[in-house]
């Protein structure tokens, strides 16, 4: 019987191969095509290994700065590999520096699939409905539900009536109170603090639209103020849900496996970092490493 971690690893390998051949075709047709930073980080690590020609541990890093007009990155990914004497490699870990978490193997496979699916929509943006449809079809453990913005006033009043039923964790109570106090009678929906907007929307949808909920999955009510968003932003938001700080559900219920679980005996060598402090940052921001992703490592 195959264990889940072996299943995840084999699935990742197949997905990676499919994604690599996909991006190589894409880049043949469009030189400016940029694959997901996860793959760029991996390619950078492999390139580093090839350039030195020696077995050992190598780290590659990449970010998504080139996706934004302000050239600021929102996501930085590092990939640490072990290059063996026979030219095969083992992935020791893939980390999301921005969220300071290791990327689960299964999520890495989802990233490839979502990246390809998002590419089906022309341009840098994706419509909210397309996004929800794509994510819900791709990640069976997730059910994103869109809040109907034109019902916000009813939803707000409904929350006020049921305020005593909300169970806010003690450690977050102060922040919530502060956010709630900032709202005035004439505050527009767009100006509500995101935390409050999300609470209003969730309580409303929970009670009024049960038919949109699915059993046995994580149902997430989302408020979308715009009709379309940058694909990169949307992908990052999914990653935030899947393994970010609030991803306890996935960690506990789905028991994500990490690359480090596959390589329990391996420790990441400090000498694996091959990027000089004054070298250009591999995340394509154009800044020096020390001023960009290097500062995150500190």
């Amino acid at each position: 019987m195959q264990t889940k971690i072996v299943y995840d690893a084999e699935e990742f390998e197949l997905s990676l191969k499919a994604y690599l051949s996909y991006i190589s075709r894409k880049m043949k047709k469009d030189e400016s095509y940029s694959p997901h930073p996860l793959v760029r980080a991996m390619v950078n690590a492999v390139d580093g290994a090839k350039n030195t020609g020696k077995p050992g541990r190598y780290m590659g890093m990449s970010g998504d700065a080139n996706q934004y007009s302000d050239n600021q990155e929102r996501k930085t990914i590092i990939c640490i590999i072990e290059m063996h004497r026979d030219n095969t490699m083992t992935i020791l870990d893939i980390q999301d520096l921005s969220l300071q978490k290791s990327i689960p193997i299964k999520v890495a496979s989802y990233i490839f699939l979502l990246s390809i699916k998002f590419d089906k929509y022309e341009g840098d943006y994706i419509g909210v409905n397309e996004f929800i449809d794509t994510v819900n079809r791709t990640i069976p453990q997730l059910n994103i539900i869109r809040f109907k913005n034109d019902e916000w006033k009813e939803a707000r009043d409904y929350l006020v009536k049921n305020l005593n039923t909300i169970n806010i964790p003690l450690e977050m109570k102060k922040d919530y109170e502060k956010d709630f106090m900032s709202i005035k009678g004439d505050t527009e929906w767009e100006d509500y603090p995101p935390r409050v907007r999300s609470t209003i929307a969730t309580i409303w949808m929970d009670d009024k639209y049960q038919e949109l909920y699915r059993d046995g999955v994580m149902n997430i009510v989302n408020v979308f103020l715009d009709e379309k968003y940058l694909k990169t932003t949307m992908l990052n938001s999914i990653l935030m849900i899947l393994y970010g700080p609030s991803s306890k559900y996935f960690e506990d219920v789905l028991e994500w496996n990490l690359f480090t679980d596959l390589n329990m005996n391996n420790t990441i060598s400090k000498t694996s970092t091959k990027i000089g402090r004054n070298q250009p940052c591999p995340c394509d921001s154009g800044k020096k490493f020390k001023k960009c992703c290097g500062s995150l490592i500190k």
Binding site: E11, F12, L14, S15, K17, A18, S24, S109, I116
Partner: protein, 460 residues
């Protein structure tokens, strides 16, 4: 052969371009030597990876369409103008028994033409489930990659030639009209019942929900899967297979038989049309298709299949299983049009005269006799050469050794130039004579008959 040099090069260039596309899409996940059926099942087991592969293939249709738009007319021109002995493969949709099927036909044909199976499968995306669609794509693309080397003849006619669908919408309609008549006739005889038209047949079939109900309604069971004894099991298997592969599930067991039979007739009709366009014969790797083909031309035209088709089908029978021992790479290396033509005439010998080329059983027997006879002759020739070689080596070696020993002093003292020349000539003669014997033996070993002989020896 030289007259087709440029045509062959051009056909191979087209195959090369085709494989560049296939490799672009599938080489990353293809593992040479690994069973394609197992690989396809395994990939389907990894849901996210399977979805990733499927999503990554979206541009394949566009790339293949573009490729065939550029090369279609060239393939038709090159294929139809050359007088190779060409045979179109008819099946589902590339020969998945792959090398074994090709080995059985390789000695009788110059080239097997295969309609691009991937372009065909891409058209099924609308009706197939994702799993079934991917499973088929993986199997057939891996099959093509397994067979890739046979698309290149190294100067000779390539054993396999890929071609695009030659049938346009207008012709499709015509073919559909013809095959519907065949299907209608088939079901009229099967149920011994007159139907108004195809729609009426499907209405009738849709009421057959249960396999026993269907079997008891059938009046002429001999035409239903004639080679299958357990028809009940075959029908259930067919129904489950279609239901598993199709997105649309709401149809009865009877309807599935309708889809199966009309589908097979459509495939047959399409390939017969394309065979006509490319001046070629037609060959099947499944007996089910062959039986349907025979039945159809007999019903429609009162004819039997021609000699070549019958022989091509005969070599697929159990009695010729030993042909699977053929070394396909060796065949690919040694085959040329002249030798193939010789082998064909050996296999065909006496068939026309004695059996008129129509009785399948007799054709099979005669073809086997002919092959046996040819193999015995080949074996005798091989023995003769071996005997000659045995005699030649000791005698010539002795002569040269003696000659060398005597010539050295002579060449050194009295007749240096003449002695040197005679020594060289002695070695040259020896070398040439022995080499000719060795080459003669090698040549017959490396001839197509030699490869066939090896295969037969291996099966004993």
């Amino acid at each position: 052969m030289l007259m087709y040099f440029f045509e062959i090069r051009q056909l191979e260039d087209i195959s090369r371009g085709y494989f560049e596309i296939i490799e672009d899409y599938f080489k990353g996940i293809y593992q040479p030597g690994v069973d394609k059926f197992f690989q396809a099942e395994k990939i389907g087991f990894f849901q996210t990876a399977a979805q990733t592969i499927l999503a990554s293939l979206d541009d394949l249709e566009e790339d293949l369409t573009e490729f065939w738009k550029k090369n279609k007319s060239k393939v038709i021109e090159l294929t139809s103008k050359t007088d190779f002995f060409k045979v179109i493969y008819c099946g589902s949709p590339s020969p998945l028994d792959g090398v074994d099927f090709i080995k059985r036909t390789a000695l009788y044909i110059d080239s097997l033409l295969i309609e691009d199976p991937l372009s065909f499968l891409l058209r099924t995306k609308q009706v197939a489930t994702d799993n079934a669609y991917l499973n088929q794509l993986i199997k057939h693309s891996f099959n093509l990659l397994d067979l890739k080397r046979l698309f290149f003849g190294d100067g000779n006619i390539p054993l396999l030639i890929i071609f695009p669908s030659l049938i346009d919408d207008e012709e499709k309609k015509k073919v559909r009209g013809v095959i519907e008549k065949s299907g209608d006739e088939y079901f009229r005889l099967l149920f011994e019942r007159d139907f108004l038209d195809t729609e009426d047949i499907f209405d009738y079939l849709s009421e057959m929900k249960d396999v026993d109900q269907l079997l008891t309604t059938i009046k002429e069971p001999s035409i239903l899967f004639p080679d299958i004894l357990d028809k009940k099991e075959r029908l259930i298997e067919m129904y489950e297979d279609i239901r598993e592969s199709w997105q649309y599930k709401d149809f009865s067991l009877g309807s599935s038989l309708g889809y199966k039979i009309y589908g097979q007739f459509l495939n047959l009709g399409t390939q017969v049309f394309q065979a006509h366009e490319l001046s070629s014969q037609i060959s099947f790797d499944k007996k089910e298709y062959w039986n349907l083909y025979k039945w159809d031309i007999n019903q429609a035209q009162g004819m039997n299949p021609d000699l070549d088709s019958t022989i091509l089908n005969a070599v697929q029978l159990e009695e010729f299983r030993w042909l699977e021992n053929l070394d396909i790479d060796k065949i690919n290396l040694v085959r040329n049009q002249e030798e193939l033509s010789n082998i064909r005439s050996v296999i065909r010998k006496n068939i026309n005269i004695t059996v008129n080329g129509v009785n399948e059983e007799k054709v099979k027997e005669q073809a086997m006799k002919n092959m046996e006879k040819a193999l015995i002759e080949h074996s005798k020739r091989l023995d003769d050469y071996t005997e000659k070689l045995k005699k030649k080596i000791p005698i010539d070696t002795l002569a040269v050794v003696v000659g060398t020993m005597t010539s050295i002093p002579a060449s050194l003292s009295l007749l240096p130039v003449a002695g040197a020349i005679s020594t060289i000539y002695g070695i040259y003669d020896y070398f040439i004579n022995t080499r000719q014997t060795i080459l003669g033996k090698k040549q017959i070993q490396n001839s197509l008959m030699g490869v066939l002989f090896d295969a037969n020896q291996n099966s004993i």
